[in-house]
Amino acid sequence: MSLLEIKNLHASVNGNEILKGIDLTVNPGEVHSIMGPNGSGKSTLAQVLARRESYEVTAGSITFAGKDLLEMKPEDAACEGLFMAFQYPVEIPGISNAYFLRAALNAVRKYRGEDEMDAMDFLPLLRQKMRMLEMDEKFLNRPVNEGFSGGEKKRNEIVQMAVLEPKLAVLDETDSGLDIDALKIVANGVNAMRSKDRAMVVVTHYQRLLDYIVPDFVHVLVNGRIVKSGGPELALELEQKGYSWTEGELTGVRR
């Protein structure tokens, strides 16, 4: 059974249709990359998957782990095992990273009928995940994302993913703005999380990320539609020819 099944998805923001019929199937263990130019709808797709309410789905369906994702609130989707790494992680002053993450993990565990974790058990786990992302322990007690650099915020997203162990991780432009060292650290963290049970959808603007996180499938999103799908070699082709090439393809193959 596929983990994620998107069929003919149409979505609007403030009455403007951004997604105009997306079809995508993701199986456990697979890594899919969604590439596309600015404004093509990449982030909208990620936000719809994470169930942001301001994105209105006007047609189509999404099935996640056998359930109707469009019926789920953001917290339900998270508890069912969907995780989105934000393009712009939010700063929350007044709550420490450790406290926030334990509250989140316990919400997910409670939903799954598992025992909640106390601080004594949780801290070693969190420390281990932070070491994996080469994050200093001082970030444990710093307020969530407050005063973090761009790279630190992105690493913190992957730490959260590592703690919550989702079935499906959606990475929304996690590479944007990272220097090469930070990019390698993030990619190593993501790669360490790859498993036969876990799928990932990596949304990116730049081919560079795919040198480090090698996808199984690449999809090119233009103007709200997937215009081309292929293997990792498609990313390289795209790098050489640019997005305008696919736009040309699109006019040729429009249904």
């Binding site: 994470a50 169930r51 942001r52 309410e53 609130k73 953001p74 917290e75 989707a77 998270a78 508890c79 995780f83 989105m84 934000f86 992680p89 939010v90 700063e91 929350i92 002053p93 007044g94 709550i95 420490s96 450790a98 406290y99 926030f100 993450l101 509250a103 989140a104 993990l105 919400a107 997910v108 939903y111 106390d118 601080a119 801290l123 322990e137 444990l140 007690n141 307020p143 959260q160 919550l164």
Partner: protein, 455 residues
């Protein structure tokens, strides 16, 4: 106009009653009280035409006939609900009067922890040196009223060069009667040179009914003293709580006063530090959380009277329902107070359309080399932050609560006695809409923090 003349007359009878209860007081105190009562009779209650009371209408207090509260029966187990068992030094006052059987006062060297009535009997001359010397009864009718009814309260005297390790916790329990009652606790804290002490004043109700707690505290911080002061108001739904904290700071004295206002129909919280000694420092930090039709008014008057003093004001308000909050931050920099550094920040979260906040900075600067800043914000819960938390699995109500706790933590984090902070965080968490979600977590968080600091 007629009403204004009549008001104090109602108090004449209770004043006589109070006099008969306190006949043993020294002569100087009796005349101090007489003068204060005369002052109150002359001024009457303030109205909203008075600039200092523009946002707070006290007619509900002025229009109620309050009898003088009597000592009431409170059992040891009645104290459990106030959750203060962790404090080893507890002074319990019932309706403003000290209860010896309920209190626990460990014996301590070089520090007198007592109640005012006892201290007046034991060392009237010592009390006379400070009591009534600082509180301004001219400009505030409630301070005058309190002074007129001085009978009992917390009395702490710390000798020079002493560090008092355990917080001194004073719990003032109002037990409302069948008819409205009032009590006027009067507290005196005198801290000697280079000494250190932590004081908690906590006002709570046992049962519902109309009551009026009109309190005043004079806190004298000697040269180089370090004082942590906490003010908690968690009274009942029909309780009026008016308080004035008057702080007198000596040279290089460092005072922090933290307020947590949670319960009461109408609360007026006056904080009035005078930085009289050079190089002294004052932190005024507070959190007020109002719901329903509660009204919480914070009136700050920070007087810089000497050079090189710092003051910091941070007040956060969380207002829900039809609640109304007020933050009035007045800073006066006297002529000689050069190099003053005064800062004031008031941040507010409005959780409903009907909640309201009036925030007003008022700077009066008579020196020419000073730094004074103020700022205020009013906002709602950040929807982006809410979505972020929900996307990590937290339910909407829990996520909202966590954001409120985060906002409250900005103030709680400045409270540097870990034991008191933990206690106050529990009180805050209990006021959150879905409090069960976080109960008991607060302490774990503090423990985590301490670990990290140590290790």
């Amino acid at each position: 106009m007629i009403a204004e003349i009549q008001i104090p007359e109602k108090y004449l009878e209770t004043f006589d009653q109070s006099n008969s209860r306190t006949a043993a007081q020294p002569r100087w105190l009796q005349s101090l009280r007489q003068e204060a009562f005369a002052r109150f009779s002359e001024s009457g209650f303030p109205t909203t035409h008075d600039e200092d009371w523009r946002f707070t209408n006290v007619s509900a207090v002025a229009g109620t006939q309050f009898g003088l509260a009597e000592q009431a029966n409170v059992a040891k187990k009645d104290l459990e609900q106030f959750d203060i068992a962790g404090f080893s030094c507890q002074l319990i006052f019932v309706n403003g009067l000290f209860s010896e059987e309920l209190s626990i006062i460990p014996s301590a060297k070089s520090v007198k922890i007592s109640n005012l009535a006892a201290q007046l009997a034991q060392d009237p001359a010592g009390v006379e040196q400070h009591l009534g010397r600082y509180l301004n009864t001219e400009r505030d009718a409630f301070a005058a009223l309190n002074s007129a009814f001085i009978e009992d309260g917390l009395c702490v005297e710390v000798a020079a060069g002493v560090v008092v390790e355990q917080p001194i916790y004073a719990l003032f329990i109002t037990v409302p009667g069948a008819t409205p009652t009032m009590n006027h606790p009067r507290n005196l804290v005198v801290v000697g040179e280079s000494s250190q002490v932590t004081i908690v004043e906590d006002y709570a109700s046992l049962g519902e009914g109309t009551s009026f707690s009109n309190t005043a505290t004079e806190l004298v911080a000697g040269d180089n003293a370090n004082v942590l002061h906490y003010m908690v108001v968690r009274e009942g739904e029909s309780a009026y709580n008016f308080s004035t904290l008057r702080i007198q700071q000596g040279r290089s004295a460092n005072v922090a006063t933290h307020s947590l206002l949670l319960g009461g129909a109408l609360i007026r919280n006056n904080v009035h530090p005078v930085l009289a000694g050079e190089g002294s420092e004052c932190l005024i930090n507070g959190l007020f959380m109002a719901n329903g039709r509660q009204h919480m008014d914070n009136y700050m008057l920070v007087e810089h009277a000497s050079p090189h003093c710092n003051s910091r004001q941070f007040y956060n308000g969380i207002l829900n329902g039809q609640a109304r909050g007020v933050f009035h931050g007045r800073i006066i920099v006297h002529k000689d107070a050069q190099k003053t550094d005064a800062k004031q920040t008031n941040r507010n979260l409005l959780l409903s359309d009907d909640a309201q906040i009036d925030t007003k900075p008022q700077l009066e600067i008579y020196a020419d080399d000073v730094k004074c800043t103020h700022g205020a914000t009013i906002g709602q819960v950040d929807e982006n932050a809410l979505f972020y938390l929900r996307s990590r699995g937290l339910g909407e109500v829990s996520a909202r609560d966590l954001l409120l706790l985060a906002f409250a933590n900005e103030c709680l984090d400045r409270m540097n006695s870990p034991q008191v902070r933990e206690h106050l965080e529990r009180l805050v968490v209990a006021r959150l809409p879905e409090s069960a979600q976080f109960s008991g977590e607060g302490s774990a968080q503090v423990v985590e923090r301490n670990w990290e600091e140590v290790g």
